[in-house]
């Protein structure tokens, strides 16, 4: 796909925003990157979700290094959570090519709103 100069700028600006959010909030950039890949690069849903991981990986490495250097990493809970995340990640990766994502998206959106409200109070 040949990109116009305008689209390249849009990608760069939204990339910068996703990167800042991912670094500042320690996550959440992936949701934005998926939307960027869907709308600007016009990737199909599953390709956008898979490719977003490729985009998020390098900026997570950079953010994680800063958090490590600043000494905010508590290794004991990090290691236990990582065990669960990796196991869940395998299940999620296998499910991506099998599931219909329409219903999941609605459930996921409601979970996000509830999570946000819980964190506020």
């Amino acid at each position: 796909m040949q990109l116009t100069a305008k689209n390249k700028w849009i990608l760069a600006l939204l990339g910068a925003l996703s990167g800042f959010i991912n670094g500042f909030l320690g996550g959440g950039g992936g949701v934005l990157v998926v939307s960027v890949l869907l709308t600007v690069l016009a990737l199909p849903q599953k390709n956008a979700q898979a490719t977003a991981l490729l985009v998020i990986l390098p900026l997570t490495v950079v953010s994680a290094i800063v958090y490590l250097v600043k000494g905010v990493v508590d290794w004991q809970p990090t290691l236990w959570a990582t065990v669960g995340v990796v196991a869940g990640g395998v299940v999620g990766a296998l499910l991506l090519s099998k599931l219909k994502s329409d219903v999941i998206k609605i459930i996921f959106a409601v979970v996000l709103i509830l999570g946000g409200i819980k964190m506020l109070f």
Binding site: F24, V55, Y67, V73, V85, G88, L120
Partner: protein
Amino acid sequence: MNIFLLILFGFLAGIIGGMGMGGGTVLVPLLSFLDLEQKTIQAINLISFLPMCLVALCFHWKKGLLKPQNILYVIIPAVAFALVGALFASDSQNKLLRIAFALFLIAVGLWQLIVAIKFEVRKSRRKIVIYAKTYQLLAKGRNPYMSKVKKAKN
């Protein structure tokens, strides 16, 4: 430290993360149920994401789901601003980060919900049009499915 809950929350978020739907948006609020500081939670999210991402990418690569064309336009500014964001976070208070994450979740959730509902409405409208056209053809005494079968046979 509740090891069982850490693994369970990690597992649930990992499923969403492995699907590339943003596992962090699930793991961070789940971990906020435990007695952990916001910065520690964010660090857990970032570090636990790395091995999971590598594993998930191997699966997606094998299935040919990765489309890396043009993504450098996103990655280069994203990496630069991730550095800026992480430096800001390390100097910010835990309470501020927690509120910022909560507002971000609510905004993204509402936005995703609107997009998903709009998509469902469009899909059901398309179905109604198909049903209406089929009904019109049947009312005229023509079976739209039989004509397709005949075409296929010819």
